[in-house]
């Protein structure tokens, strides 16, 4: 008898089943974190084994939608890593300003905190009106939240601090209306935002863009899937377009290390090479 554990047999089967049934491809995600999240989902969804979870997911789309909430990572905040947004203002915005119109892609926008942060930066830099923003994610529940633009009011104190450190020119409270325990963000920030279900694992390029911000998404992918996603970004970006990654993500272990040059290496802002 093989010494491989049951769960290590069941996990790839579950991912294969999800792919065949729902066309969501988690097969090339980083294994360790994915295994933790599936084990967590087992407990939360009261399944005794991954096989039981698989049987339920196959027969019940609602069950899959519940599992999807565990398979994707919702960790996000407004102006997360404020130095990133400050660096965008200092190093990227002046060059974006030279274009008469802009297309910006927030890939893996999750529940929208990153999107609204970016829209505020663009508004304050006078670029929002000439921008089309594509906000994409694989999780329809997250996309719905992003569309609504309502975030917990009790987070606004932290977000305000982030916003100021990120070079904010006003007060964050000018951009939202407080109601009950929520902060509803100014709808005008989203006037030119196109929300879309898009998978970096299975979909292709849909537009030529000037700037792509994709933060803390690639860390969940294995080498192959990282390369696929970076390939999409490289293809989508215009000549000398910009790419922003998460604070601990880098191009150096990917196939695309040589295809981009750093603009601000510490803040993981890159530019497509000539």
């Amino acid at each position: 008898m093989s010494t491989i554990s049951d769960i290590d047999i069941e996990l790839p089967l579950l991912l294969q089943a999800i792919y065949l049934k729902y066309s969501y491809d988690f097969r090339d995600y980083s294994g360790a974190s994915q295994k933790r999240r599936i084990l967590h989902a087992l407990r939360q969804l009261n399944c005794a084994s991954v096989s039981e979870l698989q049987a339920r997911v196959l027969r019940d789309p609602d069950m899959f939608m519940q599992l999807l909430q565990y398979l994707t990572i919702p960790t996000t905040e407004m102006f997360r890593d404020p130095a990133y947004f400050l660096s965008l203002r200092q190093h990227v915005v002046p060059l974006l300003r030279t274009y008469p119109s802009l297309k910006i892609w927030i890939a893996g926008c999750s529940s929208g905190e990153e999107l609204y942060s970016m829209a505020i930066v663009l508004r304050e830099e006078g670029l929002l009106e000439r921008s089309i923003i594509y906000a994409t994610d694989i999780n329809p529940v997250s996309l719905d939240k992003a569309r609504r633009g309502i975030f917990p009011l009790d987070r606004m104190r932290d977000y305000s601090v982030n916003y100021q450190v990120a070079g904010g020119k006003n007060s964050l409270s000018e951009y939202f209306t407080a109601a009950y325990d929520g902060a509803l963000f100014d709808r005008q920030l989203c006037e030119n935002v196109s929300f879309a279900d898009h998978s970096l694992a299975t979909d292709s390029v849909f537009a030529e863009t000037h700037f792509i911000s994709c933060r803390n998404v690639l860390i969940y992918f294995n080498h192959e899937l990282q390369n696929r996603a970076l390939g999409l970004f490289h293809e989508s970006l215009c000549h000398r377009g910009f790419l922003g990654l998460g604070s601990r993500e880098a191009l150096e272990f990917s196939k695309f290390g040589g295809a981009f040059e750093p603009v601000d290496k510490a803040q993981r802002i890159y530019r497509k090479k000539k």
Binding site: I4, S33, R37, E249
Partner: protein, 247 residues
């Protein structure tokens, strides 16, 4: 002290299969099956001495977890290491999330082998001491590279020792040595139990002498470790494993 260790050994040896040299098997992410005769030989060795008998060529990586009191403890056990290491040492030391980590600089000043912050998708170099950076969980994938993730903190900690150790146990199986040092929360207990369950060797700093006993004590209560050692004993164990001539 020696007598205490010896007791632990004998108890551990009776219940535990010691790892075999399994570079090939571990590289494919699978554990080798320990044959009965090998187990007997190793058990016999274990019964005759203390931790000196952990066979160096059975271990391919060391993971260490610690929180409060951890900087001093780590400096004590790691600073005598030579420049050339035989196997990687991967460390989670709890830190405030938003602070830029100075760990690399601080520890490099006090030790000879290269000290690095572990980076996402970086292949693990055997000769390096790695630290998990603040704000992200650190895992080891089965094909022996690092991955980062920003799931919610576990045990109020990100990076969590549990996550590093559990993933390392999956990646290295029996060829892993897990060490839990001083600390003031219970992170690491479950991770160290995973190391044990995968056939690896587990060491806990003696709670009686640890600066903060909560972390090693929690690990003891969840799963009796193979060895309970003082910092000096841990230091000599690591030194011996890292300098053993595999020749």
């Amino acid at each position: 002290m020696l007598g205490k260790d010896r007791d632990i050994h004998i108890e551990a040896a009776g219940t535990k299969k010691m790892p075999t040299a399994s570079t090939k098997a571990a590289a494919t992410g699978r554990r080798s099956t320990v044959t009965d005769s090998k187990v007997k030989v190793i058990e016999k060795k274990v019964r005759t001495a203390n931790q000196e008998t952990i066979a160096a060529d059975c271990i391919e990586a060391i993971v260490i977890g610690t929180s409060a009191g951890g900087v001093q403890a780590l400096l004590r056990i790691l600073s005598p290491l030579p420049r050339q290491l035989r196997m990687p040492i991967v460390i989670v030391l709890h830190m405030p999330e938003k602070r830029d980590s100075l760990l690399e600089k601080v520890f490099q000043e006090h030790m000879a082998p290269p000290v690095r912050m572990a980076r996402d998708k970086e292949p693990i170099d055997p000769g390096t001491v790695y630290f998990a950076g603040p704000g992200y969980h650190l895992s080891i994938e089965r094909d022996r590279h690092f991955s980062l993730s920003s799931e919610e903190p576990a045990n109020y900690s990100r990076p969590a020792i549990d996550f590093l150790m559990t993933s390392a146990a999956d990646a290295y199986g029996a060829a892993l040595l897990g060490i839990l040092l001083t600390g003031s929360n219970e992170d690491g207990a479950r991770g160290l139990a995973s190391v044990h369950d995968a056939g690896g060797i587990t060491v806990v700093e003696d709670p009686a002498t640890a600066e903060f006993a909560t972390m090693p004590q929690a690990a003891r209560e969840l799963r009796e470790p193979d060895y309970i050692l003082s910092l000096d004993q841990i230091q000599s164990l690591i030194h011996r494993l890292e300098t053993h001539d595999a020749g």
